[in-house]
Symmetry: C2
Subunit: 218 residues, 2 copies
């Protein structure tokens, strides 16, 4: 499988545009935990071949919150924020699993986008998708209590991993949700007392997904 | 002043595209307080001639929070969310002042955007601008305490109105910020005790903008 099959708008580009894109392309691997992009850098667009990334924002005090995640075939736009003038915020991109990816230089992408309606419209769809995820997040942090958000996070993790035994620390959950470890620990102990999870060192096992779902969707 | 001078990408469209845009256009007025768009409707793009709109989201329980505001020459994209498939959230658009505007039908805009790289790239910039405002909001609600957010809101209002005597109720401030009236009232009374504002019925007068600024930026 090569780049062409991963990049959905490929057939709508002209041969000259395709050639420029390929010429600019580079491959990269990132180990779990590696930071691929931070702050105002213009790293380029990241197209994920395999693996998992998360985009988060950081506070001045070093707190953080996950704003969205990226999986196989996803494209990360905001690691190339210099490409679009009106993007006035910085994200940090971190590998959540060992990840193989392509990097498309911002300037190469921007120039093709300027002349290609298909690529510009595709970029619109990408941005709208991320925008929708951030709007979901706003609704969560405004109107959902932390117990519901933790329940929803555990179910999301179980869906991503395809299993109910999650190797995740309380600290990691707290960083995803933008809260403190103590808050997560207290809530998980409450979940355990209700029979919804079983806790052991570095492990959260979901024992009543239906109850968690009722809580998370509530 | 006509539509052409308000729509910045006008000169980059072909004569045929310009004609289609003009043919689809309609003018509309909205009184202060009127709801111009809500939920999953596809009202069309709104281009503001004069006035002021706000975009907000609503919770199931009827709570709300302002996500951004629109002024003269601004274009509202999310009142035409059917135009872009990946927009998966609903906003409500309300007139904050008597407003004159043009409505561009979503389908007309979408078809031109599909074939016009300049219009598609312009739409990207519009969306990125709103995205940046929502990211700012996420940072505010995650990491700023309510006293700072109220101080920042009062200063923003004073800047918009060009004056320090604000005709705004505690209820209205609460709705903008997604909190309860009681929280706002308590905080404004504290501000008054610190000499930062003077309160009277339906009026908040800023008496120490420097102190409010120090708080709002803190």
């Amino acid at each position: 499988m090569d780049f062409q099959t991963y990049f959905p708008i490929w057939p709508s580009l002209t041969p000259a545009q395709q050639a420029r894109l390929l010429a600019g392309l580079s491959e990269r691997s990132a180990k779990k935990g590696a930071v691929l992009h931070s702050g105002g850098d213009c790293t380029g667009l990241l197209l994920i071949k395999s693996g998992q990334l998360r985009a988060c924002i950081l506070s001045d005090e070093g707190r953080e919150i996950t704003i969205y995640r990226l999986f196989d075939r996803d494209i990360c736009l905001f690691s190339a924020s210099c490409m679009i003038r009106s993007i006035q915020f910085d994200v940090t991109i971190e590998a959540e699993k060992d990840t193989e990816l392509w990097v498309i230089p911002s300037e190469v992408y921007r120039r093709i986008m300027e002349e290609s309606a298909p690529l510009a419209n595709y970029t619109n769809e990408l941005m709208a998708g991320r925008f929708s995820e951030v709007m979901w997040l706003v609704e969560q942090i405004m109107w959902k209590s932390m117990d519901r958000r933790i329940a929803a996070f555990l179910l999301e993790e179980a869906a991503i991993e395809g299993e109910a035994r999650l190797h995740v620390t309380h600290e990691t959950i707290a960083r995803h949700l933008g809260t403190h470890r103590e808050v997560v620990t207290r809530m998980l102990r409450y979940f355990q007392s209700e029979g919804m999870v079983r806790l052991s060192r570095g492990l959260v096992e979901l024992t009543d997904e239906a109850a968690l779902r009722a809580l998370g969707n509530g």
